[in-house]
């Protein structure tokens, strides 16, 4: 899922500075799961914004709404009336959600209330870690299901950097060495031979180097 983090309240207040009626729009999908922009967070952030504005003597009305998915036009339709009534929309969805609203409502200012961080998983309660860089050409099958691009600080593709100490990454000792994990995993599944293959330089063209990417499925187009 997409993992995001709330911007701080003074920053949010500055973002909606010129508006009086703001719709705080939550998203019921990824950002709900990562506790950044679901219905509950919308309620908390709205309260916080109203209080902060009042303390500064500003008149700010914050309406609250959470829809199932901001990045989908079908669900976005449910917010149409509320968006129309507000001066501006402060979206606490991911970056895709914010842009979906901006494209659909061309005359309405739309702002991001979250910092969209990465594609990751819930590691343990309250802890999320990045697992995928969306590089566009997945190599996980070659590395025992552990991504060296995302999880190795140096993005080493042909073995460890030799800087790790006791299984820990030398760049940040609070995280495990990805190559130690890859070695252990390949050993466990009997695929250590994969490490003997010399990997050619990665093709980064399917990644973000060429601007925004598009996938077209002709069989699904109408």
């Amino acid at each position: 899922m997409i993992v995001a983090q709330r911007k701080n309240i003074p920053e949010l207040l500055a973002i909606v500075q010129e508006h009086r009626k703001v719709l705080l729009l939550g998203c019921g999908t990824c950002v709900t799961v990562c506790l950044a922009g679901g219905q509950r967070e919308v309620s908390i952030i709205a309260s916080a914004l109203r209080m902060a504005a009042k303390l500064k003597g500003r008149s700010l009305e914050v309406e609250e709404l959470t829809i199932e998915r901001q990045c989908d036009n079908v669900f976005l339709e449910q917010a149409a009336e509320a968006i129309k009534k507000a001066d501006a929309v402060l979206s606490v969805g991911c970056g895709a959600g914010v842009q979906a609203i901006a494209e659909r409502y061309s005359n309405k200012p739309v702002y991001a209330g979250l910092n969209t961080a990465f594609i990751g998983i819930l590691e343990e309660r309250g802890v999320w870690t990045e697992k995928c860089a969306a590089c566009g050409e997945c190599v996980l099958h070659e590395y025992g299901g552990i991504c060296p691009i995302t999880r190795c600080a140096k993005k080493m593709m042909n073995g460890p950097c030799s800087g790790s100490r006791e299984d820990r990454c030398e760049v940040s000792p609070d995280r495990p060495c990805a190559w130690q994990l890859i070695y252990k995993r390949l050993k466990e599944i009997g695929q250590l031979d994969r490490l003997k293959e010399l990997k050619k330089p990665k093709n980064w063209r399917p990644s973000q180097s060429g601007g925004c990417r598009t996938i077209i499925r002709e069989d699904h187009r109408v």
């Binding site: 009626k21 309620s43 916080a48 109203r50 902060a52 009042k54 303390l55 609250e64 959470t66």
Partner: protein
């Protein structure tokens, strides 16, 4: 001092503290069971984390975090509870009333919890399309 009973402090969410202060409460004291003594194992520990998170959030907003406090007191500790409440009241007295109560024409204080506006007719009509959970709102 207004007392609100809950089955367990673990039932309390950040929203409740926020709504209480937003609606004009001068302070909120959360009194949970002793750590390790929760009937639901870790309800009071959950509450402690939420209180700490909310205190940080209050600082971001610009409200004194001392207005929200959690203490752990067992059901058999009446005297310490009374002393804690007195101490909390003293803390609040030093801080003064909830700054949000310097209201703009709202005699109840605080800010309007659910802003109401419609196009071309500000101040009337219900803008609400998706009411948020309000389990405790009638108490706050």
């Amino acid at each position: 001092v207004r007392i609100i009973r809950t089955p367990c402090t673990g039932r309390l969410e950040t929203e409740y503290f926020m709504k209480a202060l937003e609606n004009g409460a001068d302070g909120v004291l959360v009194a949970g069971c002793l750590e390790g003594g929760c009937h639901f194992v870790e309800g009071n520990l959950c509450a402690k984390r939420r209180v700490n998170y909310t205190r940080d959030l209050l600082e971001e907003i610009g409200i004194e975090k001392e207005r929200l406090r959690m203490v752990n007191i067992s059901a058999a500790m009446a005297r310490p509870l009374a002393d804690t409440i007195t101490d909390m009241v003293e803390t609040i007295r030093k801080l003064g009333p909830n700054p949000l109560r310097k209201s703009n024409g709202n005699p109840e204080g605080g800010v309007p919890r659910r802003p109401i506006f419609t196009e071309g007719n500000e101040g009337n009509g219900d803008f609400s399309l998706n009411p948020q959970p309000s389990t405790f709102n009638h108490l706050l």
